[in-house]
């Protein structure tokens, strides 16, 4: 039987998931797992599904997604050009390298109280925290990306009379993109992590808050369903990011192949 399983990995995975769900269900129902600490699988999944029918859930969902998306896209808009510039002009890089390195080890979540002080608790605070946290990995990835660009490509563009702006847009950005793509994927994960963290600690709305509220009100199935929701959100965002990355890089890999054929 082991041989049969070996040749069908998906079956293996499916069976394991079912086994875990079954164990979870039986464990709680039979009393083995304390039902005051964990809700059974069936209850959790039903609650998870039920949440999607409630309007206040959608309100929270929109709030969270808005905060994270805004912070993320702002970070992209600022960090990529800045990173490309820092990678291209060594002088600029040398000027700000130390400052970036000093800021880098400070976990953005630690800035939560400071952000609360500076701009007050509200959407601006969340967006700026997500922005800051996401901008750093994207910035570093862009700088790295530019440094790996073949100087011959830049030289060719220059001799063809391209302006600096055009070089940035048509040479640096595409050539550095594989590196930047990695940074963007880390950025999405970071944005989510920081955004949810902040919501859990300070907010009165949003998906992060929702789970904490369930915890405080001893809404057992709500807690586990909420965590499931967050996992699903992370999963979905990751898939979206990978889709766009694949599209952008397909173009890149194709051009690289054509270059050498």
């Amino acid at each position: 039987m082991l041989q049969a399983l070996r040749t069908r990995p998906q079956l293996c995975g499916l069976l394991t998931v079912l086994a875990i769900l079954l164990a979870w269900e039986i464990g709680v129902r039979s009393g083995l797992l304390n039902d005051k600490l964990i809700s059974p699988a069936s209850t959790t999944l039903l609650r998870f599904a039920w949440e999607w029918t409630k309007p206040d859930f959608y309100a929270d969902f929109v709030v969270t997604t808005f905060r994270i998306a805004t912070g993320f896209f702002l970070a992209v808009a600022v960090a990529i050009p800045l990173g490309l510039a820092m990678g291209y002009w060594t002088l600029l890089h040398r000027m700000f390298f130390l400052t970036v390195e000093v800021i880098r080890p400070i976990p953005t979540t630690a800035l939560l109280p400071i952000a609360a002080i500076m701009v007050g608790i509200g959407n601006t605070m969340y967006v700026s925290l997500v922005f800051l946290a996401t901008a750093i990995p994207i910035l570093l990835a862009s700088v790295d990306g530019v440094r790996t660009v073949d100087p011959i490509l830049i030289g060719s563009a220059k001799t063809l009379g391209k302006s600096t702006a055009e070089i940035f847009r048509t040479v640096l950005l595409p050539a550095a993109f594989p590196h930047i793509a990695v940074g963007l994927r880390i950025g999405v994960a970071t944005a989510l992590l920081v955004g949810i963290s902040a919501e859990m600690l300070l907010s009165s709305e949003g998906l992060g808050h929702r789970v904490v509220y369930a915890q405080r009100t001893f809404d057992i199935s709500g807690i586990y369903a909420g965590v499931l929701t967050l996992a699903t959100l992370g999963f979905a965002l990751n898939k979206i990011a990978m889709y766009f990355e694949a599209r952008a890089l397909r173009w890149h890999t194709q051009s690289k192949q054509k270059l050498w054929s």
Binding site: L5, L15, T16, F96, P105, P107, A110, I117, S197, V227
Partner: protein
Amino acid sequence: MKRLSGLLGLAVFLAIIGIWEAAARLGLVTPEQLPAPSSIIYALVSEFRDGNLAVEVGRTARRLTLAFVIAGVVCIPAGFALGRWELLHAAFRPLIEFLRPMPVIAILPIAVFLFGLGDGMVVSVIAFASGWVVLLHAMDGIRSVDPILIDTGTTFQISGPRQFFTIVVPAAAPHVFTGLRLGLGTAVIVTVVVEFASGFGGGLGNYIDVSQGALRIPETYAGVGLIGLLGYLIGQVFLFAEHRLMAWHHGYTGH
């Protein structure tokens, strides 16, 4: 030339601090919002001397270290197992792929609900969050070992277990170290959040929260800076250890 550029960076950094100080003193920003760097440093020094900041730093450092060690000890072998046995990997793959992109902080409410607000909760959340990263990298490391290295073991009739420990594990070591490094970063981020949430649990995160609540703003900033410094120092210790153990890899890959 390199020294000059280092000085330039330093000059820019000091200039920024200087502008900040000037802005604070000139009243362009209120001390409630953005205290002067000098007041932050003053608060830092006096808190260490007269207050119990040192205790809090020690508490956070202890939790971080303990959690990180637990994460490494548990998750490196677990990652190895998942990498080594295809059946195990296939079995857990859907679960892993689903949980991989989850924001690890989501585990916090569950942990608080189950364990309350004590030290145990803090350490377990940090361990879980950073361990997850370590596990994934260890697993990926084992699975991406060059097949030619494995074939080399085969042609020399090296037994399975010996092959694993003398070929696969060293080959996977760079991945494992990357995982540990990223796990450390995750640990620091998570530590802050968990300590914020831990009420009276103490630690640097808690110190920042309390200071801010008491409107002691320079102390708040001082705490934030300290966390960054703590994370940085631990990271440097780690890098030092990595450099010693992975010298061959740096030469091999050229950096």
